[in-house]
Symmetry: C2
Subunit: 503 residues, 2 copies
C-alpha cells in the first residue's frame, strides 16, 4: 500500500478566529499544495502525533508565510491541541461514507439505526463540513423524520457524550419547547421543587433562534458554566442546580447541529425532540415535564401540532425509559415583561421576591409546572400541588433556595438592563388585540440579545390592556448604537407588532 | 430613521484565496467590531462607493493588522472591485427575506413563482451563504420539486443571466444527463451537424460530480473560455462552436448552486432539468436532444426513472417554447476507453480520424444523436439520418469541420495523458460480467480528474471481453504521487469494480 508522503510543516499563529471552523492557511505555491494537488476549499486532514482534525484549506498567495509554514485558525490550534512552532502534516481526507445516507434521505429513503449512529458519530468527530451539516439539518427538518428515526437519533445523541448518574431513584426535569418570549419558568420551578425535597439537576441551553435561552437568563445572575463535578456538588448541597448543558458535554453533537440550525434560523421537530430527550436522559432524569406554549405566533401554532409533539415526546421517552408529562400552555403573547437575558431575569426575581408588581402570568405558569412535578413525584396528593407550590413561593422558601443555589454555583449578582433605550409608542388609542411574538423576538435579537445580556425589550402592552395614544408599547434596550439602529430599521420596515382595537 | 454610522476602514491585501467566498478579516478589538457588535462568522455588508458585497467575518486577535484596517479575501477584492489602500465601510446585513420560503419548503410548503424568483435573484446577488445554498439544494433534491416548481425555477434561472439571439429560425442543441464515464459525444456531434449546414452553438459545462465535463474534455484540445462576441463570430464562420457555458454567464446562478451540489456530491432531478433547459433557452436553442443513459450504476438507474425525466424535460421545454427530444441509451458501462479530460479527448479524435481502433460504441452514439438532429431539422428524410451522419464522418468532413471550429476558437492542440500511471490487473481469468461506473468515476476523480486534465483512467475491460489473469483491466493516470496513492488507497478498501465470470 502506497502511503501519503509526510509533508512536514511548522505551525504559525496569526490569531485568526473563525468561530467553530478549523481553517488551515498554506502557501498556494508550497510543496505540499503542489505535490498533493490541494486547492482553496479542499477539506484536509491536519495531523500532529496521534491527533488529527479536519480543516478547510485557504491558500495564501502573499509572503506573509513561508513555504514550509502553516497557519491554523484559533479553533484549529485548540482542537488539535498544538502550539505555535509545533510540526504537523497535512494529508488528503478519506471520503465520509455516512454522508451517503444523508444523500439517500434526500431521495426519500428512511434512515436506519446504523445510518444515524454513523452520521452522529462522524459529526461528533468533526468530519462534516458546515454545508454537509446544513444538508443533514434540512433533511431532518419539518416532519421529515418518522418516530423510529427520532428514536434512533435520540439514542445516538445520548451516546455521543457524557452521562450523569445520581443516587436518588427519582430525578426531576423540565423543558419548554420555546418560541414564547419571556417564558422563563426554570429559575422559579427549580427552587420550589428543590425546596420541597426533590432532586432537580437542571441543565439548560442557550438561545438557538430566540433572544434568550434559559442559560443566558440565569447567567446574568449566577455562573452557569459548571463542570460535571461542580454540578454534582451543588445538587448534593441544594437538591437542584441551574446550569448550562453545553459546558458539560451532555449530547455535544447537539451543539454542533444547533450552530447550523441557528445560522439557518430553522428548528426541526424530530431534531428538537431528539435534542431535548437526549439531554434529559444524559442528565440522568427519570421524570420530565414538557411545556408546549401554543399560539398563532408561538413556535407551536395549533393544538393539533402540540398533540402530535406530545405523542412524539411520550413515545420517544417511553422507548428510552423516561416518564414524560406534557403541559400545553397559552402562547398567544409574551410571558412577563422582559425579553432578553437580563430583562427576563428581573421578572424572575420579582416573582421570587413576591414584589407587588411581579408578573402574575409568569408566576402562574411556574406554579403549574412545579405543582405537576410535586404531584407526579408523590410529594403531595393529586390536586394539592398548586397550593404546596404557592406556599413554598409565598413564604420566601423558594427565594431562599434560589440564593443558596446561586451561591453554590459561584455567587449571585443583580441583573441590569443595557444603557441605551428607546420607547416605541402607540400611534392611536385602543385595547391591545394581538401581539406578534416572532417579530417582537426579532426586534430583541436585532437589538443585541442574547449576545448583549442587557439588550432586549421591556414589554408593556399585554392583550386586553387599554393604551392611550403616545403611551409606550414597549422599550427597546441595546448596548450599542449600531444594534439599536438595526432594530429600529427593521421596526420601521415591518408591519405592526402590537395590534390595537379602537376603543 | 437612524443610520449606521460609517466606520471607515482601509483595505490591506494578504493574498488569501478562499475559493468563491468573500471573507473579511477585522481586529476583534477594533472600534467597528465593538460598536457594531460584530463577532466571528457574522455575515456583514462591505461597502465601497455604490458597490457592496456580502462577506463572512473572521476576527483576528493578533497584531498583523491595525484597528483601522480590514483584509479581504482575493475573491472579495475582485467582487467589490477594490484595491489595497481603498476605503470601505462595514455594516449590518438586512435579513434575507426569501430564505423564509426555503424554510417553508422544509416544512412541506410548495414554492410559488414569486418565491422562486426572489430566491434565485438573492442567490445571484450573492446574498446567500454556502450553508443557506446547501439548504436550498437539499429541499430541491430527490423528487421534492413538482413540475410547476421546476418550470418556475427554469424561468427564474433564464432571467438571471445573459441570453443569446441568432438570425436563424432553427438552433440545434444537445445535452447528456451524464453519469456515464467517457460518454463524450458533443465534439463529434457538433462537427457532423455543423458540416450538414445546421446551426449548433453548443455550450457545455464543466464536471459537477464526475471526473470530466464536456468543457473540460474540449479544453484539452482548444480554448473553451470564449466571450459572447467570440462565440457569435465562431458560429458565423463555422455554423457551430464547442465552448464553456460558465464563461458567458448563461444562467450564472447555476454555477453558484452547482459549486454547493459538488461539495455535497448531490444532483437533484428538478434542479438538473432547470439547469439544462435554462442554459439551452439562454443559448437561444429551439431544438434540443437529451441523451439519458440508463444502467444499474449510471446516474439514471431504471427505464421508469428515464421516462419520468423525459416527461419533465418535454413538459418544461414546452412551457418555455423549446422542442425537446429524448434519446434513452445504454448506461451499463463506460463509453469508449478514456475517463478524464485528456483521455476522453483522445477517444474523440480517434473517432473523428476514423482510426482502426477507434471506440465503436462512442462513434455509434454520436451518430445516433446527430442523425436525430438531421431528421428533426428536415435535412434528411426520416430513416436516413444515420446514413447521412456516417457519410459526413467517414468522409473526413466532420474532422475537417472539427479542426476549423478549433481554429476559430483559438487553435488546436493534441491532448496527452498524465506522466504517472499504474496498471490494475485481473486477479483471475474470465469474461467481464459487470462494471461499476460510480466507483470507476471515483477512482478517476481521486487520481486528479478533472482538475489535472491528463489524470483519469484508460479502461480495457468492456462487458463480454475475455480477460487473462494478470492482464490489465485499466490503467490509472495521475499527475502527482499523492493523488495516485489516494486513488489506490480507495481501490484497495473497495469491492471489485470489474466483475469477471469464471471462463
Amino acid at each position: 500500500m502506497i502511503q501519503d508522503n509526510g509533508n512536514i510543516l511548522k505551525l504559525r499563529k496569526l490569531g485568526i478566529d473563525t468561530h467553530t471552523e478549523n481553517i488551515i492557511f498554506l502557501r498556494a505555491d508550497s510543496q505540499v499544495c503542489r505535490s498533493e494537488g490541494f486547492t482553496a476549499n479542499t477539506r484536509v486532514s491536519v495531523n500532529s502525533g496521534n491527533h488529527s482534525i479536519i480543516a478547510t484549506l485557504n491558500v495564501i498567495t502573499s509572503e506573509i508565510i513561508d513555504d514550509g509554514e502553516a497557519v491554523l485558525s484559533e479553533e484549529g490550534f485548540k482542537n488539535l491541541n498544538v502550539q505555535e512552532g509545533d510540526l504537523i502534516t497535512v494529508t488528503h481526507l478519506q471520503p465520509i461514507l455516512s454522508f451517503s445516507n444523508v444523500r439517500a434521505k434526500m431521495f426519500g429513503k428512511k434512515f436506519n439505526e446504523n445510518a444515524i449512529i454513523r452520521i452522529i458519530s462522524d459529526i461528533t468527530k468533526g468530519l462534516y463540513s458546515k454545508i454537509e451539516i446544513a444538508a443533514f439539518v434540512t433533511v431532518c427538518s419539518g416532519d421529515n423524520l418518522a418516530l423510529d428515526e427520532v428514536i434512533y437519533l435520540t439514542k445516538a445523541m445520548v451516546n455521543s457524550g457524557s452521562r450523569l448518574t445520581w443516587d436518588s431513584k427519582m430525578i426531576m426535569d423540565k423543558h419548554c419547547v420555546g418560541g414564547l418570549p419571556g417564558n422563563r419558568t426554570t429559575p422559579i420551578v427549580v427552587p420550589i421543587v428543590a425546596a420541597a425535597g426533590l432532586i432537580i439537576p437542571k441543565t439548560s441551553s442557550r438561545a438557538i433562534t430566540s433572544p434568550a435561552g434559559t442559560a443566558d437568563v440565569i447567567e446574568t445572575m449566577t455562573p452557569v458554566d459548571l463542570t460535571l463535578k461542580q454540578i454534582k456538588e451543588v445538587v448534593r448541597k441544594e437538591n437542584g442546580c441551574m446550569t448550562w448543558g453545553g459546558a458539560v458535554k451532555l449530547s455535544p453533537v447537539d451543539d454542533i447541529i444547533i450552530s447550523v440550525e441557528k445560522a439557518l434560523d430553522v428548528d426541526s421537530a424530530g431534531q428538537m425532540i431528539a435534542s431535548v430527550i437526549s439531554k434529559k436522559v444524559a442528565a440522568g432524569s427519570t421524570h420530565t415535564i414538557i411545556d408546549i406554549p401554543v399560539g398563532p405566533t408561538a413556535k407551536v401554532r395549533s393544538k393539533e401540532e402540540a398533540f402530535l409533539l406530545e405523542y412524539y415526546f411520550k413515545a420517544v421517552g417511553l422507548s428510552i425509559g423516561m416518564e414524560v408529562e406534557v403541559l400545553i400552555t397559552d402562547g398567544s403573547q409574551p410571558v412577563g415583561r422582559g425579553i432578553g437575558p437580563a430583562l427576563e431575569a428581573m421578572d424572575v426575581l420579582a416573582v421570587l421576591r413576591n414584589e407587588p408588581d411581579a408578573p402574575a402570568d409568569l408566576k402562574d405558569r411556574a406554579v403549574q409546572l412545579a405543582s405537576l412535578m410535586l404531584e407526579r413525584a408523590g410529594v403531595t396528593p393529586k390536586g394539592e400541588g398548586v397550593n404546596r407550590a404557592l406556599e413554598i413561593l409565598d413564604s420566601g422558601q423558594a427565594l431562599d433556595k434560589f440564593y443558596r443555589i446561586c451561591h453554590a454555583q459561584g455567587g449571585f449578582s443583580e441583573p441590569a438592563p443595557a444603557m441605551l433605550h428607546h420607547d416605541v409608542t402607540a400611534l392611536t388609542s385602543g385595547y391591545v388585540k394581538s401581539v406578534d411574538n416572532r417579530k417582537l423576538a426579532k426586534v430583541a435579537k436585532l437589538a443585541g440579545a442574547p449576545k448583549s445580556p442587557g439588550a432586549g425589550i421591556f414589554f408593556r402592552a399585554k392583550i386586553g390592556k387599554y393604551i392611550q395614544k403616545g403611551d409606550p408599547l414597549y422599550t427597546i434596550y441595546s448596548e450599542t448604537q449600531g444594534e439599536l439602529s438595526y432594530a429600529l430599521t427593521f421596526l420601521h420596515s415591518s408591519d405592526h407588532i402590537v395590534e390595537l382595537t379602537p376603543a
